[in-house]
Symmetry: none
Subunit: 239 residues, 2 copies
Amino acid sequence: MLEHDPSRPLYQQLADTLLSQITSGQIAPGDELPSARELERIHGVSGITVRRALSTLRSQGYLYSVPRRGTYAVSAPPPPPAGALRSFSAYSRRRGMQPSSIVLQAAVIPAELRVAERLVVAPGDPVVRLERVRLADGIPFCLQTAHLPHALCPGILSHDFATESLYTVLEQDYGFVIGRQTLRIRANLAGPREAALLDLPPTSCILHVESRNSLASGQVFEFVVIEYRADCYEMTIGE
Amino acid sequence: MLEHDPSRPLYQQLADTLLSQITSGQIAPGDELPSARELERIHGVSGITVRRALSTLRSQGYLYSVPRRGTYAVSAPPPPPAGALRSFSAYSRRRGMQPSSIVLQAAVIPAELRVAERLVVAPGDPVVRLERVRLADGIPFCLQTAHLPHALCPGILSHDFATESLYTVLEQDYGFVIGRQTLRIRANLAGPREAALLDLPPTSCILHVESRNSLASGQVFEFVVIEYRADCYEMTIGE
DNA sequence: GAGTGGTCTAGACCACTGG
DNA sequence: CAGTGGTCTAGACCACTCC
């Protein structure tokens, strides 16, 4: 029976409960879950709440449902979301290079329209803007601009992101559990600012990536734009 | 007022209606939508149906909601999701463009080393190589080179891929069930051959995508290289 | 105080599966 | 025929914004 903790929606609490039963092995891979009506009874919530929790876990790949048959835990839970974008630090270390950063801006500013839309906050809401040139073995590699709702990570700018990893801080200090990301990818010619910051000759190519990143709960926590030097980066997705 | 067409759920019909209002400009970018309760009244459906439709469009990036304020159309709607895995034909039709193709090569050839590795066949094994310029409304859009193990699709070259969709043939005639894909993405400057085929000026950018595609069973069935004109393509991953 | 999005309840019908 | 997932309704409360 779930307590009604007003701080978090019931359907999220139920999704968490079910997910922990799956990851702990209490519900084994391939197992059939209790029916929706049983879950209502077991947890003392209404049908729509159960369905919303199941729908969340389905969209994250932990469950699948067969109409008129039942709902099952998948046999192979999905891998954690893709690598290269997650942590630049981890990416470069895996290639045997030393990561470093130059912080161009680290500030709390009012959200401009485009950012507010992507972060699902109101325009003008306080947003952390963190703009960094990322280097590998001292060579400029990409220009990365992250935006996070300040309400989700108050006081985060007390960290020094020239040396610390944003994701490490978010996971360790703020308890974030990273979920899905949605990418938009383009190829651009480098503008003068990017060319200067990335130490590129004119008419160079840039791999332009925008990513909207969500927590496991579905809450959008970051909108980040990355401009990669095309001559030293290749993105891998899937695997 | 929506008819109750039993063939499709109400919330999908409502989402379609709203989406068409957005893409047609009837609801302009940045506009506020009618409130949830108004939408109930306008379309004669219940609140949960409205919310489900809005939730769908939100997760696809067409809308965002600010609690206690309202729901708004985003200022720049996202391109339709497109991964290389999806058929080019489907991609362009969804954008309201007429797809066509110029076949540069359609042949069974011995696998060269790089292709053999990706397809998990022995070098020299017979491989279908299908190289096409894909056009949307007559404008060159990308240069696509697909490789498939000939053993998986014997006789496939009897189809005319200037007009037919490779994926439609694979699914309908060979019973393929498409599974995962692994992508590698780069930004390149166009070489002289690509520039000529894609009708590009010199020093243009190319979005270079390699995709290794598997059946639901895990069997690798295709290795495809696509060179996109950067000025008319943007890739979306994740949804 | 009227209106908003977000959450939640208690119930209902449908088309279908499986014993 | 009992049970399932999928869909849908009519209503409710909350915390908050805008006027």
